[in-house]
Symmetry: C2
Subunit: 146 residues, 2 copies
């Protein structure tokens, strides 16, 4: 009944605000969980992409994570400094950079396998509900990404 709820500009009505705030908040939950692995959340996502396939090019990782190469470039250098991956030019196409896990990078996976369950537990939400939300977000991503 208040004017606020009818107002299209009311903060609490904005999908973009709910999205931005939830994203920051959930990523914030990962911080203490990922700290023992020496990873930030974006770095964790890069590692997930490499555990699925390695080596991959910067372009390929960027397409998987929807990140610009300009964002990935320094991020990958930090992971290289941490000893988790190597970066070297592709022999067949010198423009491409192959990013490949090191032994340390591969073995970090064991610790990472414990992460998802810890997050779900801290969230205290139903897994089925979380999967529903994930699917809605994937749909939203497709609509905005076109």
């Amino acid at each position: 009944m208040t004017q606020m709820q009818d107002d299209p500009l009311a903060l609490d009505r904005q999908v973009c605000f709910a999205l931005a705030a939830a994203s920051r908040s959930v990523i914030g939950m990962y911080r203490p969980v990922l700290a023992p692995l020496g990873l930030t959340h974006p770095q964790y996502l890069v590692m997930l992409s490499l555990w699925e396939r390695s080596p991959r090019t910067v372009r390929d990782i960027g397409q998987a994570l929807r990140l610009e190469p300009a964002t990935l470039s320094p991020l990958l250098k930090r992971l290289e400094s941490a000893g988790l991956l190597t970066r070297q030019r592709n022999r067949e196409d010198e423009r491409s950079l192959d990013v490949e896990l090191t032994a340390a990078g591969r073995s970090l996976r064991t610790k990472a396998e414990l992460v998802p369950a810890q997050i779900v537990e801290r969230l205290g939400m139903d897994v089925a509900e979380l999967e529903r939300i994930r699917d809605s977000l994937t749909q939203l991503l497709a609509a905005s990404d076109g």
Copy 2:
């Protein structure tokens, strides 16, 4: 059937990835829409909070937007430089900083009122579906924010 879909670390299974990617992608849609107003997306959210109530303290805005004062401080200075608001110490409590819209800040609202419809149109999604997603995200925010 592939091992990937059973893998708890598969990128496409992560709520956090869907959340981060959708957030960046949707915020990216706002960029061309907000550019004519001279606002970034976080600045737009600050303006939404001030159109609801002005003046407000930095603390108060931070609680509404779930942003740290350290994030808001430089952001508010930019909006002050843009002439959209003023910043001055509260008379009754000199620790607090009152943030108040200027005439230019108030009048920008007219242009901003056209923003939500433009985004919905570009997304091409059902408004009811978007509201469902927003409510799920609000729920997720509450679970992660505790």
